[in-house]
């Protein structure tokens, strides 16, 4: 009896092919929430289209495009030279901010100080003008583009870093910093700002006396910047083309503002 039901159910699976008005985007977990909102707005204007957004990391974005598993990939970094056969479109500029707990009085750190903290040479907040408590260094797990960006800026190898805690995704890092007043970490400025505006006890620090403000990102004075890109290869379906165009349109700009990232214009 149960077997019969099973067979019937299996038979009821309808095979949906990637139709022309379906677009699948996979990749960076930083870009995904932004594209999700853009996709929703796009679908309102183009009711026949179905956009699907999945995370999985920038690496997955690249792999899926290479293997033709998706139509558009999302990455939170620039394309590497080995990936130059892929085309890209920058939809936003984001920065990497250093975050501490809001009770931490330190307002600014130099690049050398941050390097020393992460190399384990500066161990106590006393050396930075605060209480004599050990610094809890929060670092990202391997493979994430945020990590690569940070290491690229500091110009050190991952094996030399002496972290106290390693986290996976942005929000895990933020929750870790909130839970420990003597911690320090780095995260996307957009994510940090979103949380700060929602009254979480978080604080962004100036880097070499440059504030991680919107103005400094727009005029590119802030040192750690990255572009959020949509990548694709070859010929695109009509829906994909429309979506790409839409992601720099006025509706998309509103979404970018809501996520506290800057548009590339």
């Amino acid at each position: 009896m149960k077997l019969l039901l099973f067979i019937i159910t299996v038979g009821l699976i309808n095979y949906s092919h990637a139709a022309d008005n379906q677009v699948l985007l996979t990749g960076s977990s930083t870009v995904a929430p932004i594209m999700l909102d853009i996709a929703t707005a796009f679908e309102k204007q183009n009711p026949k289209s179905t956009i699907e957004v999945q995370t999985g990391g920038s690496t997955r974005g690249i792999i899926d495009i290479k293997r033709d598993l998706s139509q558009i990939g999302m990455i939170s970094r620039d394309l590497k030279p080995t990936e130059s056969f892929l085309k890209h479109k920058t939809i936003a500029i984001d920065g990497l901010g250093i975050i501490v707990h809001s009770s931490n009085p330190v307002k600014n750190l130099s690049k050398q100080q941050i390097t020393d903290i992460y190399l384990g040479k500066i161990k106590s907040w006393k050396q930075l003008g605060w209480v004599d408590k050990p610094i809890t260094v929060v670092h990202k797990a391997e493979g994430r583009s945020t990590l690569e960006l940070f290491l690229g800026y500091l110009k050190i190898k991952n094996s030399k870093i002496k972290p106290n805690l390693i986290i996976g995704d942005n929000e895990q890092g933020i929750k870790t910093i909130i839970g420990n007043p003597y911690s320090i970490g780095y995260v996307s400025i957009g994510a940090a700002n979103y949380n700060i505006k929602n009254k979480t006890p978080l604080k962004l620090i100036d880097l070499d006396n440059i504030k991680p403000s919107r103005a400094n990102i727009v005029n590119k004075t802030y040192p750690i910047l990255r572009s959020l890109n949509l990548i694709y290869k070859g010929k695109l379906t009509e829906s994909s083309q429309k979506l790409l165009a839409f992601s720099s349109g006025p509706e998309a700009l509103k979404v970018l503002e809501k996520h506290y990232v800057i548009s590339p214009q």
Binding site: E142, I167, G168, G179, N180
Partner: protein, 282 residues
């Protein structure tokens, strides 16, 4: 209903047997695919550079699994130390001391506890336990915190197993014990524990197996640092959290090494299984 031997029925039954056979041997299918994707990890690296090595930096081709093997073992042993005796005493309580009215409440609460997803336990650990531990024992995430959260997760399984075991206790024994005027302590120590030691051991091993396999909850509270822990509060990484953390971003040899972690995990539980029920299988 015909009682004569029916050819179609026989064939259908033989087909069903085949299906049943295939699925009871499912573990071999699992092993096949794991070995296919992770087997040649051991061929490409030397054992001294992986199993007992303590540096894990895939981008620099360093794959030291030692700290994670130890991490998995330690965190599950600690979790068992917390949850095992508690679940056993709780099961005994449920059966012999708990007033009838409270029994159904305890049942329902255990069921709910059992079905809380591991992410929720992890989230709870991250926003409640870690901020509590951090100022006292920096950095707050580590072996002890992970063990505590894990212990909470394996508690209901232990409870259910021990309750099921205690259910099989013959009523006559209870009647005899009561008529000899034995107290609860004596009942537990001299009668139940003595005869069911083996079954309780199995229950403990079930719990530790579950603890080794837990990923999401541990991911959020263990610190994820690859090192041999030097204290109860040191951050650690387990084999499971390593897979969850790096799988999405791993390519080539890195990916192979993660599948190898999966193989190690199955080896772990297999050894534990043989330890607990060895006699049942020989």
């Amino acid at each position: 209903m015909s009682l004569a031997r029916n050819k179609t029925e026989d064939i259908v039954f033989k087909g069903m047997l085949l299906v049943g056979l295939i699925f009871s041997l499912c573990i071999f299918i699992v092993l096949f695919f794991l070995i296919r994707s992770g087997g040649h990890f051991l061929l490409t690296t030397k054992i001294s550079e992986t199993l007992f090595f303590d540096k894990w930096f895939p981008s620099e081709q360093l794959f030291g699994l030692g700290p994670m093997i130890i991490g998995s073992a330690l965190v599950s042993i600690l979790a068992l130390l917390f949850a095992g005796p508690l679940s056993l005493v709780l099961a005994f309580f449920y059966f012999y001391i708990c007033p009838l009215k409270l029994k159904s409440t305890l049942d329902i609460f255990m069921d709910i506890f059992l079905s809380i997803p591991s992410v929720v336990f992890g989230l709870w650990g991250l926003v409640v336990v870690v901020p509590f531990m951090a100022p006292l024992f920096p950095p707050g995430q580590g072996l002890l915190t992970a063990s505590i959260v894990l212990a909470m997760m394996i508690l209901p399984i232990g409870f259910k197993t021990f309750v099921a075991t205690l259910k099989t206790l013959p009523s006559e024994w209870l009647l005899a014990a009561k008529s000899c005027n034995l107290g609860e302590w004596s009942l537990f120590k001299d009668i139940i524990f003595k005869s069911y030691k083996r079954k309780f051991f199995v229950g403990f091993l079930l719990q530790i197996t579950r603890a080794i396999g837990e990923t999401m909850a541990v991911l959020m509270v263990c610190g994820n640092i690859i090192q041999y822990p030097d204290s109860l509060f040191a951050p650690i990484r387990t084999l499971t959290t390593n897979i969850a953390l790096e799988m999405a971003y791993a390519t080539d040899l890195h990916r192979t090494s993660l599948f190898f972690c999966g193989l190690l995990l199955i080896a772990y539980v297999f050894v534990l299984l043989l330890l607990s029920k060895g006699d049942e299988y020989s």
